[in-house]
Symmetry: C2
Subunit: 349 residues, 2 copies
């Protein structure tokens, strides 16, 4: 039996029995609240992940000609080399305009109950249509996108292959469905925490286990549970103490804009925490760059407790065990524009 | 023996002997003027292509934090999924500013005698330093780049591995050397034309062979020869007839800005023609989107001849045989920023 002096000390301090029973207990409790990221993409109702569709979706994900400028693709802000986001406080889009909120990671997004910080899109297909049309992001229109894709014979053929039996498969809806299919493959299994959940008690070290115990005991799991440790439902930011306007800008009332219900003011979807060490800066405002600071802010704002420094460090150490194996992405080759392809429009309307 | 009625007709019209002798002659002539793209990257004096260096170079090529905004990487304008360029007339850079000239493809750029449209960089390492510092492109400084890279332990380690024995390997110069090493791997062998040069007479069809013969007979090879069919030396754009200001903007005097020699006014490096069908729009101005139109403009501007429509089509068909096998690129994983990493600066100075 491996000795765990620190873990034993922790177990005693938390009132657990010592040694392996503690580890088992921690593992059991964790398995009651969380799920590992699966090794294979999930089944999506109504969107079978065929090879043809996933590959088309990948091309579209990397396709800057979905934007009117021909410069910005999904990958610009959801960069698969940077943890699936852009490491900016808020994204830069068409005409160098700034978006209002921090770009969430695309990795494991398929496991979120809804998309966007305010949950205004039910799924990834609905989500994919948003940035393409947003004036501050890709600034295009469904018609413009369809004209663009139809101008390139390879895309027409690939839409036919991805959506067999459809008379007119090159549609804005199908673009979104294909992107959803590709994004469903962008999952990051085999994080240390997943190995722990699957029974490897040594996958987390003592400090990380202490962090996990604190994460559960202090109530973080009220919002951050499930496969993504978040992304499932909506909670007021500042449940106990509202953070300052630097972290919670007054102008962005979150889900209120979707529901127009007063109780939804400053309500946001709980952030999924998978790969959180790769996706700074944090919060919908992107105002906090340091993960420990973000944990401390959550303590005061959501839990009404000032976490001790060693507690913050332990929780942060635990959060870093959520970093999984990032999918290997082969850069897709995109077809050349043709005489019928609309030319890029880089003017800001 | 395969019958080639069109080729025979062409051979007769060009005064060749008919049949296979014509094909051999065409192949021999072509081999005297051009070289195939090699299957493996070339040797670069003073820059050994070690695995560690090439991988570091790839990370840096995809690294948006080389730009002050953290949005723009080499791949933004030299997109490996879009023929190695951005399919824009002129690139969009920091603050949505427009660059003055069309972004050349990175594919096979290692075979060019010098880099940039005016040849102001002797090699790819020197070239790589330009856009990083250009105010309209990535808008950073050598000091800022080094501070950024040094803030991420993985980069420090990778520079040590790529430049063993150096006391302080994280330098702006080494950044450029690593990018050069990676870019040297971005070559596109096995185009139909390469297979033809290597002896496969059927790799080009009759129309493409007619185009090749015209390309040689009409004098295109005076500027477009060698492995890249261009990229080797400097020629006035408008040697015979100066194109209009829409195609040859008066404000950009080309190599004159480098040499300050009157005879270098409107002199540019002959464009390399490899993968030309993937890299519209054309010319340093990016003013011409259609490859046939570009060929016709070259006829009048450089050769002083109005090419017939069927000649333009044949030459264009030949040019499309220059499309090779694009390198397979696995998207690199970039390390997360740390507390020491300078924050993005998206203001335009």
């Amino acid at each position: 039996m491996i000795k765990r002096p620190l873990a034993t000390a922790l177990a005693l301090s938390l009132g657990f029995t010592a040694g392996s029973a503690m580890a088992d207990s921690l593992m059991d409790r964790a398995n009651g609240l969380f799920e590992p990221v699966p090794k294979y993409p999930p089944v999506i109702d109504g969107n079978e992940l065929t090879q043809a569709k996933v590959h088309l979706g990948k091309m579209l994900f990397f396709e800057p000609r979905l934007s009117s400028s021909h410069l910005i693709s999904c990958n610009t802000c959801h960069n698969v080399g940077l943890g699936g986001d852009d490491e900016l406080a808020t994204s830069i889009g068409h005409g160098w305009q700034k978006g209002p909120r921090n770009a969430p990671t695309v990795f494991n997004a398929v496991f979120n109950a809804a998309q966007f910080w305010d949950g205004r899109a039910a799924d990834l297909a609905e989500q994919a249509k948003g940035p393409v049309q947003a004036g501050v992001e890709m600034s295009s229109t469904p018609e413009h996108v369809v004209t663009t894709l139809q101008s390139m014979p390879e895309y027409v053929e690939r839409f036919q292959d991805a959506f067999p039996g459809q008379d007119n498969p090159v549609t804005f809806d199908n673009m979104a469905v294909a992107i959803e299919a590709y994004e469903a493959t962008l999952i990051t299994p085999d994080a240390p925490f997943d190995r722990f959940l699957r029974g490897d008690a040594n996958a987390l070290n003592d400090n990380e286990k202490e962090g996990l115990a604190l994460f559960m005991d202090r109530g973080c799991t009220a919002c951050h549970s499930g496969v993504n440790l978040g992304g499932q439902d909506y909670h007021p930011f500042g449940l106990v103490t509202r953070p300052g306007g630097d972290i919670l800008p007054e102008g962005d009332k979150g889900r209120f804009a979707v529901t127009e219900t007063a109780s939804d003011e400053y309500v946001f979807r709980a952030a999924p925490l998978r790969n959180i060490e790769l996706t700074a800066p944090y919060f919908h405002s992107g105002a906090v760059w340091d993960l420990e600071e973000a944990v401390a802010v959550m303590g005061t704002a959501q839990l009404g407790t000032e976490l001790k420094d060693n507690e913050v460090k332990a929780i942060t150490a635990f959060l870093k065990t959520l970093t999984g194996d990032v999918p290997e992405v082969r850069y897709p080759q995109l077809p050349p524009s043709t005489a019928e392809t609309p030319r890029p429009v880089d003017m800001v309307p």
